[in-house]
């Protein structure tokens, strides 16, 4: 057994807790956790109810609206953001293909999910990012937390999410938001911290109150960075919907999951490409919008 270079056992295999205590520990934590969740299940349900209602309402709206109406709305949004006919035509083409291959309804379900996830991520990320920019202490506290949120394999935190919220759309949404909110927070923080200190000093010198400085100077100047955060959030939630389908989120992600388990590679690719198509549409639109915002914002000296 202990044959590594003739060393004693303790130096050969790492001395670990014995199997029994490990089992006790795991069981203790898991049971305790379940107990707490069971005791508060009503509160949890009540807290997530608005999210559930909003998500269902939006999904119903997206999937039941006549497809030409949805198409016009989406293309109008693309035009408003990108102001480029090429992007609009590209988006139209992608959506036609999605429809032709029979993925329209699933795509709308995914779109509803991503929309809600993005809204929730912005609602959480923006204030947290602002708080982080204003206090070094909050930044020191949050940075490792964000690191964990971004690097922890998403399957791992899917487990407690399922334990707490059960199976369904809302737990999926929460998992997506956990995964997608860090770039929003980080880039809001970064954007505000990178505002030219002389400009914020000017705001102080003219007697701006903290609120006037935040809304009049810091947020407007951080907006391009914040828009990059929104873009990243959208991209990450699109990537996450496949994983979220494991806990009961429908749409394109669910099809991909079924394709994996059944080795339907055509289905897999078609749904995968539909996700890519939406991702590209959103990415081009939000990036072009961010770039337009940036136009006058960079001080140039010559």
């Amino acid at each position: 057994m202990a044959t590594c270079w003739g060393l004693p056992d303790a130096l050969c295999s790492f001395p670990s807790l014995d199997a029994k205590s490990l089992r006790m520990m795991r069981k203790g934590i898991d049971d305790g956790f379940r107990e707490i969740v069971r005791a508060h299940s009503e509160t949890i349900d009540a807290a997530t109810a608005p999210l559930q209602i909003f998500l269902n309402w939006l999904e119903n709206l997206f999937t039941h609206a006549p497809w030409p109406a949805m198409m016009i709305v989406i293309l109008a949004i693309v035009w408003a953001g990108a102001r480029s006919w090429r992007t609009v035509i590209g988006a139209a083409l992608a959506m036609v293909l999605i429809g032709v291959f029979g993925l329209w309804t699933d795509t709308m379900t995914t779109l509803a999910m991503v929309t809600v996830a993005t809204i929730v991520a912005i609602l959480i990320g923006l204030p947290v990012g602002i708080a982080m920019a204003r206090s070094d202490r909050i930044q020191r506290f949050l940075t490792p937390l964000l690191d964990v949120m971004q690097t922890l394999p998403s399957f791992v935190y899917l487990i407690p999410v399922v334990v707490i919220f059960g199976i369904g759309k809302v737990p999926g949404l929460i998992a997506v938001v956990i995964y997608a909110v860090p770039p929003m927070i980080r880039l809001t923080n970064l954007g505000i911290r990178m505002v030219d200190p002389e400009v914020t000093e000017a705001a102080d010198a003219f007697g701006a109150a903290p609120r006037q400085k935040l809304f009049g100077v810091q947020l407007p100047l951080a907006l391009p960075a914040i828009m990059t955060g929104v873009n990243q959030t959208i991209m990450m939630s699109l990537a996450m919907v496949v994983v979220a389908s494991m806990v009961g989120v429908g749409g394109l992600g669910k099809n991909v999951l079924q394709a994996i388990t059944n080795q339907y590679f055509t289905t897999g690719f078609l749904n995968g490409f539909a996700l890519v198509a939406i991702a590209i549409i959103f990415d081009r639109t939000s990036q072009a919008f961010g770039k337009r915002l940036q136009k006058h914002r960079e001080a140039r000296h010559d």
Binding site: V199, A202, A205, G207, H301
Partner: protein, 362 residues
């Protein structure tokens, strides 16, 4: 905010009775984690080096006492690291001192509460920055409106004021441009318009023209002097450029390593440098452009016939010398602004005053 919902009257009259200047009293600033621990030692004579080497704190300002006269341009001059930018930021409370007072209209700026300080900044001071510090997302007009927006002055009242100042600094027609579309000189004109639109008594200018090309800098100095002729604001102007200091300053304070080396008029400093450091500084100055005729005038001798050439006492001697050369005179009668005689100035006096005195040539 209830402090200002209406516009205060525009500046017209310079001669308000008992206008307040700014009095800086025994100001100390120590940078570091525990300035309060060392202030007593510094006040009792600990050197900047000892504080820095042994205790890891930086002495920014040491015992500054300075009167900045109302309605005048007070220049604070020093090289980089002398503490001049730190000093000007004490006047509007952007930096709090470790010890000392700054008195304006009988109130100590240092002791003001946050909201009092905010009101003070909104109504009494305006600032112009070295790198302009314009808001890049606002147009020229909106930048000029900034101080008024902060005070919640309605646009219909504020806009005419802003347009007036944009016009005065020569930017008419550029109201809708963004700062990034303007040259450096034009950007600083916006900075100046923004400060003037605030209609504050105190104008703080932190190396306002240092980032500009020499020709544009001269241009802006002229603009400032012309405006000041009429506005008579209490201007604190920071610069590292002695020529600029002499051109603009009604009085000049020279700062070195956080302490005042000399204060006085430009002529005082050029003619009587307080120490070797200042003497070194002023050696290359064109003295003919600094010294004024009144300074060199001697009384008219009882039996002396008054010279035919009359010059105003404020005229610099270089120009007096030119007048003399043109008229072929060797004497000139010096008068004050109203034409009353002050005395006589001779070409030889001008000549010897224009060359650097021998003792400081070492």
């Amino acid at each position: 905010m209830t402090d200002t919902t209406t516009l205060p009257p525009q500046p017209t009259d310079a001669d308000q009775p008992a206008r307040s200047g700014i009095e800086i009293r025994n100001l100390y600033k120590i940078f570091g984690p525990h300035p309060e621990r060392w202030i007593k030692h510094v006040q009792e004579g600990m050197t900047k080096e000892e504080l820095n080497d042994r205790h890891d704190h930086v002495l920014g300002l040491r015992d500054i006492s300075l009167d900045l006269a109302p309605g005048e341009i007070s220049v604070i001059m020093g090289l980089s690291g002398s503490g001049k930018s730190t000093l000007i930021r004490h006047i509007n409370g952007l930096i709090a001192p470790t010890a000392g007072q700054i008195l304006y209209e009988g109130r100590d700026v240092v002791a003001m509460s946050t909201s009092d300080l905010r009101t003070f900044r909104r109504t009494k001071t305006a600032m112009v920055f070295q790198k302009f510090a314009l808001l890049p997302h606002r147009t020229v007009l909106e930048n000029t409106l900034y101080g008024l927006d902060i005070r919640h002055i309605p646009r219909d009242q504020a806009e005419p004021v802003a347009r007036k100042w944009i016009d005065r600094v020569g930017l008419s027609g550029f109201e809708a441009n963004y700062p990034s579309q303007l040259s450096g000189g034009m950007q600083q004109r916006v900075g100046l318009a923004r400060a003037l639109a605030n209609d504050a008594d105190i104008l703080l200018m932190d190396e306002a023209f240092s980032a500009l090309d020499p020709l544009i800098r001269m241009d802006m100095q002229k603009v400032l002097l012309e405006l000041q002729e009429e506005l008579r604001k209490t201007i604190v102007f920071i610069t590292h450029d002695l020529d600029e200091a002499l051109r603009l300053g009604d009085s000049i304070a020279i700062l070195r390593d956080g302490a005042l080396e000399q204060t006085g008029t430009g002529q005082d400093i050029v003619l009587r440098p307080a120490n070797d450091y200042i003497a070194e500084f002023v050696r290359e100055v064109n003295r003919g452009k600094v010294i004024r005729a009144e300074r060199l005038a001697r009384p008219l001798a009882p039996d002396e016939p008054p010279p035919r050439l009359r010059v105003e006492g404020r005229r610099v001697i270089e120009l007096v010398a030119r007048d003399m050369a043109q008229m072929g005179e060797t004497h000139a009668l010096v008068t004050d602004r109203k034409g009353t005689e002050i005395g006589v100035i001779e070409a030889s006096t001008i000549l010897s005053a224009m060359v650097t005195p021998a003792e400081s040539l070492t």
